[in-house]
Subunit: 675 residues, 2 copies
């Protein structure tokens, strides 16, 4: 069924191949002067090659290559090294690929400052040491208490879940670790035991336990708890077996297949390397280990509409009275969103008949890893007309068509939560970026006062209130890169009626404006903002109107963290429902790998993109879109949050971009007239 | 596949059958003293049986019948008679059915006042006279002008489209009629000619043309236009053929079927009379000629959750400089929403494999009419997981299930616009009411100044700015009829950290409130309102929390008409995104048949439901939900508005109603663990 020619030049956006990761890894390891290890168990005190990822070429170079037959930009990788021996983090650009010959420290170029070593993500190497530390310093020493309270033994252990940020100021690496029953779905099995570890030093022999929480009571040391437990001044938790209410094992037997889709005529899309074509659409794609799913060079009938559409960050702020969750503010891209794009399950995560694509990543590991079937692509019949009209007046006829659209999907399971990421391509020329949350909520042990922060959802378990904020980057290029930001809305105006001028009525008028600076175009949540937001060209359509794409945001967020909080700078993108900035290669992402563990002095503070208040008239504009929802957990979040109602997104809609609805040209159109 | 027992008592909600309509019609016709005609061409000066529809029994009687084995409520019909001879409208209740023996005038009981005859909907009988009038008084007399300007001849006519309301004060029946090319999709083919008719009198011989608009110029009479046209003081429209850009005929040949769903194991739902069962769900349904689709007695696992979920009204306010649209405020239920639920097209409006249901109606007609396949029901695989979690930490496993849900749908094509109405039943216990708009926009001829009210979308054609406001009635009964209205939200509170009390941080807390009066619970658009709204029982779930359903509204409305406008009272429900009232049988709908043509003194003013500010604590509560979107038409609305992004709705979500997510019991669950 499918016809058309794939764009081979899309390789410029392609993720690194397994071979390329190996080339970069080996090249870096062989820089003997750097003393870098590529062993996944490298200690924090050593130099560890944490991440290798594609280094995207400059946009102007890519456009020259795509549009003007200029040479292909040099293919380069970013390599992130945690220099434990020296106490800093460095980002290197390695190239050219294949067969790298150079590497360059780009840390200052990219972040304008050094990256302190404690801004790093906790590696597997560090986790191994932390678990050993906990075993030795906590569980072994508290053997009797943890046996009596939680039935912990050599065979039966508890699982750990960390709070973040790790402290209250830059440099801190003080992590509250909460313990959970060793069940699948541990996240909703808190036992009421939390431990604060100071692992500030890269030398694990200097680590210490600085506080403990047991059944709502704080202790200054393991000895303190031991002593008070023995002398009877501790309110004890007495172990009782609890069934695994977190289990996802179905409670009913399958009774046959639910409705399924099939493509009677074969696929109407085609995937070739990292390029996809679907009816009038085409785009390139990639999956960043950090930020996740992204597509580039989205074209409709060959005309580029979007240069980049990408996930940027998933953030959550929690409330609790328990220390492990009280300060918790997760910034997932610092752990890696794309990193957790695992294999998709046919028939549940995506349709059986979807096309599944493998991805390869190199993050916190010794060798590149293949993630089988981690992206799916399918055409979906939404079961709803895209458009239709039936007329029984004057002309009796019917015209319509079903809404079949292409879905491009990954699902990332980052610890407890699973985010479902969809980019959807409609035949009417719209593209939608959608996110849904599912998986396990985070929870805390029920202690006095914690019902102010959530509802009880299971035995002794509080589902804690939290926000979900998601940021997307939308680099629309409407007929080239020079665009303006338009707003449209309505306003009631008291107007004299022309045929009876003495009579007045309030009539809705169209109100249009062009916002000309970044600060004007930074549209905060909870302010009244124009209902229609457009990235527009000054070129007009057939009817004389500026050709544009409209941004329609669907969002149910709760309040954003007050800006007075020092952590807020690391998530300042969440202030804005929509913010428009002038495109800069030096502002590729709204967050960074180094934000979670240095929230107070984040390597990227999005609000600074706006602070210089640049002119956005006839410039290359980028829209940063924030969506999400407030989550007050309830019993129905057990065992898993459902996707229904728990999502958000943005629809990019043509608005005077075309001269008419392009779906009129779809082969799916149906027309019926009386015989 | 399907198992279970249908509830025969659902017949209490069933629409009238063809036989019942005939019984009522004949009974009323035979009341000779009323001199009623059932001829669809009855003149306004005569008495016309306009409507017969089910008269819903009192809720308490229905509940007695359903829940307490009390006798079945008497089956009755409402008959609406336009008493042209007497100058009023009367509503009669006719019963018992079958074989009616009595009729009762309930006009005062229902509306507390008389219904003036000019509040009536324009009937086919009146339209016939209006078209004759126009032909004789306008087109024949302006023969040369309309020939030269619009190529109008005996064979080639123009089509008419009316503005509403018909005037500026109660009693007015002054209608601006705009003319459009005689094409399919005429609504986007304005020719620039509009005529104001005074058809105030039920005696059509007293009708008159009181104003004309031709190419942006006003004339006081046909003679005035004739004279000025002849003496050359009129800016003429010179006829030029225009292709039919409104045609819905596909421009591409079909290239095979798009993706289709099928049910490999047969349907998992069953339809019996007006009762539907689907997995754990059951409900009764009906289709009111006026308000449209509605379901009753929605139960999950046999437990009633919703007594009534129904469409109430679809309203649009337009802006224009042209008189036909300048004052236009459509209230569709006055014309009849359900009335226009026509046959659904397999494969475009609903899946091929859907179950299609016939409906019967009696409105503005001589005999009951069958509407074949006017409701569809199908289970839809949304192509997305309802829930899922993959774990690669500690426990390696996957659990999830695809989101398959039951869709109950009608599509109503009211003149230019088609609204798609969906009630969706999810396996997680949620019910969603969704509306999408498609079909043709309304348009006006391009004249000076009209670009302030919209964009040009076709040759000489302005797509005018307008609002879409939709009202749903949601009568949740959470564990019986005695409920409370709860709100939940978050608030950042500065809290001392228990393990380092000298340090403070802003932590989100859960804020709950119970709103106790109708005025408190009338939540206006454009005010900050709590993010979570709940209809709750005082009975608690396993974890001690009030069992509730949450109302999650998805809406993109523009501004509502200012309350200072006299027409606003007819649409005062649109002030509120959510309003909670105490249930009353005397407040069955938020709008009425008599609102459109008497907007200034509407038979139902929703704001009065709230004005008495009743207590809503432990009462039978009804939620009135308003959704919609601001529509600034653009070129892509030609030929038809697409559904993508053009909709809204409300999700009813269990929130501590259950003790866990009920979908864990679904047979669709999938679980995978390492082998
Ligand atoms: Ca800037
Ligand atoms: Ca751009
Ligand atoms: Ca009341
Ligand atoms: Ca109720
Ligand atoms: Cu959540
Ligand atoms: Cu519209």
């Amino acid at each position: 069924v499918f016809k058309g020619q794939h764009n081979e030049k899309s390789s410029v956006f392609a993720d690194l191949s397994a071979e390329e990761y190996l080339q970069v890894r080996d090249f870096m390891i062989n820089r003997k002067e750097l003393h870098i290890s590529a062993n996944a168990f490298t200690k924090p005190s050593e130099n560890f090659l944490f991440l290798i990822d594609l280094s995207l070429p400059k946009k102007s170079d890519v456009l020259g290559y795509l549009d003007e037959n200029k040479p292909k930009p040099t293919r380069e990788a970013t390599a992130v090294v945690f220099h434990g021996t020296d106490g800093y983090i460095r980002e290197y650009v390695v190239g050219p690929l294949p067969n790298p010959k150079y590497f360059k420290d780009v840390t200052f170029e990219r972040y304008k400052e050094a990256l302190p070593i404690n801004a790093r993500t906790v590696t597997i190497g560090e986790y191994v040491l932390m678990f050993k530390f906990l075993m030795k310093e906590v569980f072994t020493r508290l053997g009797k208490i943890v046996k009596e309270s939680f039935n912990v033994s050599i065979e039966d252990t508890l699982n750990a879940f960390e709070g973040m940020p790790r402290g209250i100021q830059s440099g801190d690496r003080h992590t509250w670790i909460s313990f959970f029953r060793d069940f699948s779905g541990m996240y909703i099995h808190p036992v009421g035991f939390e431990v604060l570890i100071n692992h500030n030093s890269t030398n694990s022999s200097l680590w210490s336990v600085t506080k403990l929480l047991y059944n709502g009571q704080y202790f200054n040391s393991v000895d303190d708890l031991l002593k008070k437990y023995e002398n009877g001044t501790v309110k004890k938790i007495v172990y009782k077996p609890v069934p695994n209410y977190a289990s996802l094992k179905p409670k009913s037997k399958p009774n046959g297949l639910s409705p399924q889709q099939f493509n009677p005529q074969g696929n109407r899309f085609s995937v070739n390397n990292n390029h996809i074509m679907y009816l009038d659409w085409s785009f390139a794609f990639g999956l960043s280990s950090l930020t996740g799913m992204r597509v580039f060079d989205i074209r409709f009938k060959g005309e580029r509409i979007v240069y980049e559409l990408s996930v940027q960050e998933a953030m959550s702020v929690y409330g609790s009275i328990t220390p492990g969750m009280m300060l918790t503010k997760f910034l997932d891209s610092s752990i890696g969103i794309g990193r957790f794009a695992h294999e998709l399950v046919r028939g549940a995560d995506c349709p059986y008949t979807a096309t599944y694509i493998d991805t390869y990543r190199y993050i916190d590991i010794s060798a590149p890893q293949r993630f089988r079937n981690s992206i799916c692509v399918f055409e979906h019949n939404t079961g709803r007309p895209l458009r239709r009209h039936f007329s029984d007046f004057f002309h009796n006829s019917y015209g319509g068509m079903v809404n079949s659209a292409l879905v491009f999907r990954t699902i990332t399971a980052i610890g407890n939560y699973d985010y479902l990421w969809d980019f959807i391509f409609y035949q009417s020329g719209s593209v939608e970026a959608k996110v849904h949350a599912t998986g396990y909520i985070s929870s805390s042990f029920k202690v006095d006062g914690n019902l102010r922060y959530g509802h009880q959802v299971a035995h002794d378990t509080i589902g804690n209130i939290h926000t979900h904020f998601i940021n997307f980057k939308v680099d629309l290029d409407v007929l080239g890169i020079k665009n303006v930001f338009l707003t449209k809305d309505m306003e009631f105006v008291n107007v004299s009626l022309p045929w009876m001028p003495e009579h007045y009525a309030m009539i809705p008028q169209l109100v249009e404006a062009q916002l000309k600076t970044e600060k004007e175009a930074a549209l905060r949540y909870n302010t009244k903002m124009p209902r229609y937001l457009h990235i527009a060209s000054n070129r007009t359509n057939r009817w004389g109107h500026q050709r544009s794409y409209r941004l329609q945001v669907v969002s149910f967020t709760g309040d954003h963290l007050p800006e007075t909080e020092p952590e807020e700078r690391s998530m300042s993108w969440a202030r804005y429902k929509v913010a428009i900035t002038k495109h800069k290669d030096s502002e590729p992402t709204s967050s960074s790998l180094y934000s979670q563990n240095n929230m107070w002095k984040p390597a990227v503070d999005f609000s600074k993109f706006i602070e210089d208040n640049e002119n956005i008239e006839n410039e290359d504009l980028v829209a940063w879109i924030t969506t999400g929802f407030l989550h007050i957990p309830h019993a129905e979040d057990i065992p898993n949050t459902v996707t229904v109602g728990n999502g958000g997104g943005v629809i990019l809609r043509p608005h005077n971009y075309f001269d008419e609805d392009p779906s009129i040209n779809s082969p799916d159109g149906v027309y019926i007239s009386p015989g």
